[in-house]
Point group: C2
Chain length 102, copies 2
């Protein structure tokens, strides 16, 4: 059983993840990524999907054309855990590797 992050660990996590924000009404973090077009957005999603499945920890996410919004929370803990931080860091690498817009 993975434990929810303590306040200090949570603050450290958010400070280390630019653009990620806490979600109103849920113990979760969220970020929206913008790419050049749909192909780039879906290429990013494919990288994230493979990484997430490898970690057995899956995002809640949506896509509209070149935008991908990702919410992370740990169902088993009903809140934010180190698993979310680990996946967020891999997502950041995937976004950089895919080529963010602007």
């Amino acid at each position: 059983m993975v434990a929810k992050l303590e306040p200090a660990a949570r603050a450290d996590l958010l400070a280390s993840l630019p653009g990620w924000r806490e979600v109103d009404g849920r113990d979760a973090i969220e970020k929206t990524f913008r790419f050049a077009d749909f192909k780039a957005a879906f290429a990013f999603m494919t990288r994230v999907a493979i990484a997430a499945d490898g970690q057995d920890h899956h995002p809640e996410w949506s896509n509209v054309y070149n935008r991908v919004t990702i919410l992370l929370s740990t169902h088993d803990a009903d809140g934010l855990t180190e698993r979310d931080g680990k996946l967020a860091r891999v997502i950041e690498e995937a976004a950089t590797g895919t080529g963010l817009q602007g």
Copy 2:
């Protein structure tokens, strides 16, 4: 410029697409698909992504583990058009080909 579907064409479309429903407050249709697991859900999304990009008509969609919710509407027409029907039929084929749960 593609035209919005007339009421009769809209009724025919919905009758031919089981499980799709009109969306409250938007001129759009929506359906949620459930698969065996995340791998199956993302395999389905990949098929849909390739087909959608080939049609240059993209869904608004979200995924949580084995569930994929897809909303279709035509931005250029600010409503439901034949493009949405065409993409919905391809999505149905992809879902059947991937293997829906239950």
